[in-house]
């Protein structure tokens, strides 16, 4: 699946998008896999309460299942308007 990062999450990880092969069942499982990769992922995901997640462009939470998901995005709380 494609994993996207925005704002300071993107800056900490160092790129806006990557393709990830994963059997993770939930968003939380995917986060655990990513954190185990490298320090910059650990830094980005250290405090999950400061993050928001969208699966296939819909806001959801870290318990959400990933079955069939094509796109997962991580970002800080939004500041539009």
């Amino acid at each position: 699946m494609n994993v996207l990062y925005f704002a300071w999450v993107r800056e900490r990880i160092g790129h806006p998008m990557e393709e990830v092969e994963s059997e993770a069942e939930t968003v939380g499982d995917l986060v655990a896999e990513l954190r185990a990769r490298e320090d910059r992922y650990e830094a980005a995901f250290a405090d999950v309460s400061a993050l928001r997640v969208a699966v296939d462009q819909k806001l959801t939470d870290f318990d959400a299942p990933l079955k069939g998901a094509r796109e997962v995005a991580f970002f800080p709380p939004m500041t539009g308007g």
């Binding site: 969208a54 462009q57 806001l59 939004m78 539009g80 308007g81």
Partner: protein
């Protein structure tokens, strides 16, 4: 309903006139316009707005549809810019048309409250060589609880 996400500037007057002209059967038209405000110190060079192409349009459309299902509205307009904006630039606008003023006002406030915290935009302030992401405000999250 019209949802626009663009880098280019928009003209508030043109948009307001076009929106109003299409709804002369509505008694009440409300617009909200957000402006890049300089800091108290006067040294903001630019506000950079990042967004999530695709999801942004979907999120704004859903917010506008929610507003239309909750209030008696003739129409809704949302325009939001992204990219680098200088102080004084218009960031975004919403407009609502309704038979009665209460609906037009409430729907516009609802759109703004959701757009602030539920549409995928992120602001970064550039001050000289420094740049920092704007933190979400608790007050903006709390504002959702009234709906």
């Amino acid at each position: 309903m019209r949802i626009v996400v663009q880098e280019a500037p928009f003209d508030l007057g043109d948009e307001a006139n076009r929106f109003a002209a299409g709804h002369r059967d509505m008694g009440a038209i409300v617009t909200f316009t957000g402006v890049v405000r300089d800091l108290a110190t006067g040294d903001l060079d630019a506000m950079e707005i990042e967004h999530y192409p695709g999801m942004t349009e979907a999120a704004l459309t859903e917010i506008a549809q929610q507003a239309q299902s909750r209030w008696s509205l003739g129409d809704v307009l949302v325009i939001h810019r992204y990219g680098r904006l200088e102080p004084g630039a218009l960031i975004m606008m919403v407009a609502t048309a309704a038979p009665h003023r209460k609906d037009a006002f409430e729907a516009a406030e609802y759109l703004m409250d959701y757009l602030k915290s539920r549409a995928p935009f992120w602001k970064k302030e550039h001050i000289g060589a420094d740049a920092s992401w704007v933190s979400a405000k608790d007050a903006d999250e709390d504002a959702l609880s009234r709906w």
